[in-house]
């Protein structure tokens, strides 16, 4: 009960500020929180990255194994993306098998990487039709202060950028850097009435789950989109968000080039 009241108070506060054209933490509508990226945190993983979006923290670890290819792509590696929203990261998360939120999160992150063809899967074939590399992208939430999705996308591509293919451990040749050829960046907006805010914080989300995520590649192509939450979106609003998402992604992508 107390929590419900708190949420209502936050909601009113967020909405009243928005009417004045302001966000509660002083950001502009199209401004991300401070982004921190640390890579190679986990030496036992093939690659890893910890990303902070303000107080939101996500760690992604990449593990690779040798496995069988799919019958119809006998010469390509395989990406498997998984997200654990462990109860450590939020009082609303519960232990147990993945629920619809963690499944959606993993699948949207996966789509950005897969559809941008960020990883050159053709270079992950060991023996055609027999052995290819499996890439496990494991998203592990640590602190959910809003917009886990963009933090996870960013951590995933950052971790891939620092991944070494462990060929020696599996006795199939020399280690080599994972071939990454694109930098997909997702931008999630919160839709509030006739406005939208990028990178919403948890307090802002108290106004309701009304998200649109747009992932773009380095040529500004859209590679993944997901409207999430029960709300109705106007077409012209969509195209406004698209423009902002493309330009924000470009800026964030610069950060990835330093890795």
């Amino acid at each position: 009960m107390v929590e419900d009241i708190l949420v209502d108070i936050k909601k009113d506060y967020v909405l009243s500020k928005l009417k004045e054209g302001e966000r509660i933490d002083g950001r502009k509508f199209n401004e991300f929180r401070k982004i921190e990226i640390q890579t190679n945190i986990i030496s036992k993983a093939e690659g890893s990255a910890l990303v902070k979006l303000g107080n939101t923290q996500v760690i992604v670890g990449i593990k690779m194994q040798v496995g069988e290819p799919f019958p119809d792509t006998p010469d390509k590696g395989i990406i498997i993306t998984n997200a654990e929203l462990v109860p450590l990261a939020s009082p609303t998360f519960e232990a147990g098998p993945p629920d619809e939120f963690s499944i959606e999160l993993a699948r949207v992150v996966d789509r950005g990487i897969r559809e941008s063809e960020a990883v050159n899967l053709n270079k992950l074939c060991i023996e055609e039709g027999e052995k290819v590399w499996l890439i496990f992208i494991d998203i592990h939430a640590l602190d959910d202060d809003g917009n886990l999705l963009d933090a996870s996308s960013l951590a995933a591509i950052s971790a891939l950028l620092t991944t070494t293919v462990p060929a020696e451990r599996f006795e199939v040749g020399d280690n080599y850097p994972l071939p990454v050829r694109d930098l997909p960046v997702s931008v999630t907006s919160l839709i509030v009435d006739d406005k939208f805010l990028v990178d919403p914080s948890r307090d802002e989300v108290s106004v309701g789950n009304r998200f649109l995520t747009i992932t773009t590649d380095q040529d500004d192509n859209v590679v993944a989109m997901q409207k999430s939450g029960s709300y109705l979106l106007k077409e012209d609003r969509f195209f406004e968000i698209l423009d902002v998402s493309i330009s924000k992604a470009r800026k964030i992508r610069e950060r990835l080039k330093d890795i």
Partner: protein
């Protein structure tokens, strides 16, 4: 395994576009054959049978009804559930029964699309359950299911702000095409499922939007144009199906 299979990226090339025609002879902005029948189940409060190309789906609506256990009730509105489920025999390779990650995600975004238009505040503490069985799948099953669900909701008398109509657009051989079938979905460059709220014969807003592939902003604009055109055609068929059921009932009762 099914999870892995589903992630498969079948990008080997086959030719999809021949001049101004598609592999199955359709024009770029042409829908597959659609057949809709309302009220086909006795037990459900509302139901709908729908074919769209080779997709065959059945939707049922139960409710508004009591919610058990009680702690799942919402004192301010009805709780909406949506279950997209594929029959084991609906696809080439037998699918293991039960939900996989793909169907969990589809169920979530489909539910959210309907939640946005069902007047759920009218039924506090109740539940409205929407179950859709995919008996045969051939690209676009999520859109077929939403169209069927929407008709079943009307058949059940659930008040909504308007009709939900769903359709996908794909990019195939660089061209945007309406209502892709399996080959265009598998070998095409992008897939964009839409659902719209249609009210008073007008497309008012977007209730569902997803996308995977690779498209430019201009291609997205074309996708919207095609999707809206297709949606209006489907909307007419949905209305006809409801009307037909209503008329046949009136005749029976009259």
């Amino acid at each position: 395994m099914s999870e892995l299979n589903e992630k498969l990226n079948e990008k080997e090339k086959i030719q999809l576009i021949f001049g101004d025609k598609r592999l199955d002879g359709r024009k770029f902005d042409e829908l597959r054959n659609i057949k809709i029948e309302a009220g086909i189940l006795k037990r459900a409060d509302g139901s709908c049978y729908l074919e769209m190309g080779k997709n065959i789906v059945v939707a049922a609506v139960y409710g508004p009804r009591e919610v058990h256990p009680r702690h799942l009730q919402d004192p301010s509105k009805a709780v909406i559930r949506y279950r997209y489920n594929m029959a084991p025999f609906s696809v080439e390779e037998r699918k293991r029964p039960g939900p996989d990650r793909r169907s969990v995600e589809i169920s979530k975004v489909s539910r959210e699309a309907l939640e946005a238009v069902i007047m759920k505040e009218l039924f506090p503490r109740s539940g409205i359950d929407i179950f859709v069985e995919v008996l045969q799948a051939d690209a676009g099953s999520r859109t077929a299911c939403l169209n069927a669900a929407s008709v079943a909701l009307v058949d059940a008398g659930v008040p909504m702000k308007g009709m939900i109509t769903s359709i996908a657009v794909a990019k195939a051989d660089g061209v945007m095409v309406l209502d892709p079938m399996k080959e265009e979905d598998n070998y095409g460059e992008a897939d964009i499922p839409f659902a719209f709220l249609i009210r008073g014969r007008k497309i008012e807003s977007i209730a569902l939007l997803q996308m995977d592939g690779r498209v430019t902003k201009d291609e997205l604009k074309e996708a919207f144009r095609l999707a809206k055109k297709g949606a209006m055609e489907i909307y007419k068929l949905q209305k006809e199906a409801i009307m037909k059921k209503y008329v046949s009932e009136s005749v029976e009762n009259g």
